[in-house]
Symmetry: C2
Subunit: 454 residues, 2 copies
């Protein structure tokens, strides 16, 4: 660009809906970190991005600039491909705990840097920390060694790994700029790309319990994640999956860890959880570049049925200091002192259980966070016995509340009952994977036109 960089000029450019020239986004990000761009300029720019959007090219440059603000992992040694998945967050979404060992058992390496629960959605790290001794705080060298030897590791991000993302996210959170597609894309991808992945699968949750009830908007996010991830050199796929009802039978950290172990043990599991988990795992095999569609599904099922996925899970827990006794007896993860059954008030069929309400109930039981520094109780949550499609009698057990005391349990029980919907006939079953988004092979720079973010 001809004029020297100023943050004010950059803000005005985006405010007027123009594309940033090379170097301008990079200067905004480096300026935020060195103090030459003020926080109040960054939020003004991000709010302009909210209204005016960014091209895929701009989003890619922003992601690279954020990535460049930290220390990426060192390069991986030769060997099998490196893949990961990212979920936009849902209720009962314990897929990460299950697919990491499955995909490791299929011979790939999965360096999964995960997050914590916030608001009504759960967090993978909190679920794993319900296993006594399991640590999510790993030095990069140890994290990579576990991935190389076990095939997978699930841990938290170190402070150094993308400081620009931490700063920008903290500002977005308090300045009302969370819901911007290009800012979401760059936040997700900067953290994932720091792990030098070959392939990455996105699970974009559609519905009131997930990213957005607006399927168009969810599709746009999926497309942007795939397009931008591809420009960053990763093979990408995005699945749009339904999140109107909690996924699986458990919601709550320890209960979900227990359900994940049961899944890997091949025990009876909720069909919806099997459906989405297998699709995500198969997509991870596909983005590794090695697998055809049908082969991927077969190998995923075989990894579970043979017990090899459970073995990888056990090896990961052991490598990260966790008590592997939970694998033989997942019930020890149900530590809440109070259990209260919720009974059906009428006969009929469950039409649905509102996911967002369940997420909020778990938070209020002590199992989630409203603020980033809240602590979580691993034992509390809800175990479902009847979900959508299930027939019930008056008095049937719908679910079991796990709580710290009876008063909280009773409040949760009445709210949970209100989250249930009943009807005279079984609802029509819909597939949970709504669509799969793969890179558009005809995409060129000309497609990087300005599209508003919403």
């Amino acid at each position: 660009m001809s004029l020297p960089f100023t943050a004010t000029r950059a803000i005005l450019r985006k405010r007027e809906g123009l594309e940033h020239p090379d170097g301008e986004i990079e200067s905004l990000v480096s300026g935020l970190l060195d103090g030459s761009v003020a926080d109040y300029q960054m939020t003004a720019w991000m709010m302009a991005v909210f209204f005016k959007g960014m091209t895929v090219g701009e989003t890619t440059r922003l992601t690279r600039a954020m990535l460049g603000s930290g220390s990426e992992l060192p390069s991986w040694g030769g060997g099998s491909r490196i893949v990961d998945k990212h979920s936009t967050g849902g209720v009962g979404d314990k897929i990460s705990l299950i697919v990491a060992p499955i995909v490791a058992a299929c011979g790939l390496r999965v360096p999964m840097i995960s997050g914590r629960s916030l608001g009504h959605t759960g967090g993978t790290l909190d679920k794993l920390e319900s296993i006594p001794g399991y640590t999510v705080h790993l030095e990069p060298a140890r994290f990579m060694r576990i991935v190389d030897t076990v095939g997978c590791s699930i841990a938290g991000a170190s402070q150094e790994i993308v400081p620009a993302d931490r700063r920008m996210y903290a500002l977005r959170d308090v300045a009302g700029i969370v819901e911007s597609v290009p800012l979401i894309v760059s936040s997700i991808l900067s953290k994932k790309a720091a792990a030098k992945l070959d392939g990455l699968v996105f699970d974009v949750k559609v519905g009131s319990g997930g990213f957005s009830s607006d399927r168009e908007r969810a599709r746009l996010l999926g497309q942007r994640l795939v397009e931008t991830g591809t420009l960053l050199g990763m093979r990408c796929e995005a699945l749009l999956t339904w999140m109107e009802e909690p996924l699986g039978a458990a919601a709550g950290n320890g209960l979900e860890a227990a359900e994940s172990i049961r899944f890997l043990r091949g025990e009876s599991v909720a069909g919806d959880l099997i459906e989405v988990t297998y699709e995500v795992a198969a997509a991870m095999l596909r983005v590794s570049g090695a697998e055809a569609e049908d082969d991927a599904r077969l190998r995923v099922r075989d990894a579970v049925q043979s017990g090899r996925a459970l073995e990888r899970f056990e090896a990961m827990v052991r490598a990260q200091g966790g008590d592997t006794g939970v694998i033989d007896d997942p019930d020890v993860l149900s530590t809440a002192p109070i259990r209260l059954e919720v009974h059906s008030p009428e006969p009929g069929f469950v039409q649905g259980v509102r996911a967002r309400a369940v997420g909020e109930i778990v938070v209020d039981l002590g199992g989630g966070r409203l603020k980033a520094d809240d602590s979580v109780d691993p034992g509390v949550g809800v175990w479902f016995h009847a979900r959508s499609g299930d027939p019930v009698e008056k008095g049937s057990i719908l679910a079991e509340i796990h709580a710290r005391d009876l008063s909280e349990a009773r409040t949760a029980a009445s709210r949970l009952l209100a989250a249930y919907e009943f009807g005279p006939a079984a609802p029509v079953r819909v597939p949970l994977v709504l669509e799969t988004i793969v890179p558009d092979p005809s995409a060129t720079a000309a497609d990087e036109s300005m599209r508003p973010s919403r």
Copy 2:
């Protein structure tokens, strides 16, 4: 509102295009001053206002909240009405210096709190400070005493008078949020309303040298100023006036002060300056509530021709410590050591002189500011001998550059020549006052619908 105030919630509400409930805007403004609302939240909110606009009701509440952040002037004693005018800023716009004493001579009181030049537009305070000894720094009590005794005073705002506006404007300036109609309206009106006016006239400049070349946008600003000012209890009118060419013969601080004095002395003056000045002065009489349309124009002309306006100007200069000798000999204000004539390269008629270019030439001669803390040279500027409509021969004097040195004068001369446009015939003369905006008597709360600011 039911939920307690948080800045994040307020930002989200505006971002989604909703109207702020009572108290929310007030909490944003008071929070900015007490530190509970961060600068980075304020800029995010103001950028959302840029995109989503504010209703007249919201703008009024914002203005009141800003006003409440400082110390208004004490109430005026009984006597004549209190009126003022505000210009959005133009090139050669010395109207304030002339109308204040005219309106004072018509028996009203004019407490005019003015600003300084910034960018290509001039500032009233800088023009007055070219008069040796004239001070614009007056304690409120002295300012009011001068207004009460002389009839007018032109001075700068004290630090205490609307601190919220100072904070918000400083943020808007560096965060690229200057051009938002509701934020402009509240900034202007909070400062003007602090002087407890009965009536207020807005001179909104249309054209590349003024607020906006987009007449619709200028009209929107004028309408919003009138509507909001009316809700704040003032009688208001807005004039949209043309600003494609500098107003009058002089551009530059001392030269403009000299031209203003010549105007008040009844000496030969540029017709465009007479046209707009008389209209603004007449509008000020009208908003005082005392005058019918025709009477106002007659009284304005009589105030000048009788010498009473000049007398008021002299009394104001004396009261503010200025050397009244400049009134007998305005030429002493032309202090620049170098004068360079600019000659016409061809015969024909001047079609126009681009105002914005002239404004930038004056800044580069040292007579304006690019940053708020630049100092200005009172002597430099341009004196025009030929402007649009004037016939010229090859070699006729078009203008005289007043400069600090020959090199700067030559640069200015060649740029000034480029700002002239010539043609074979006189251009069609257009009225400079494009329209007058008065309060809509049928306006109700129902008209306060959400309209985007641009």
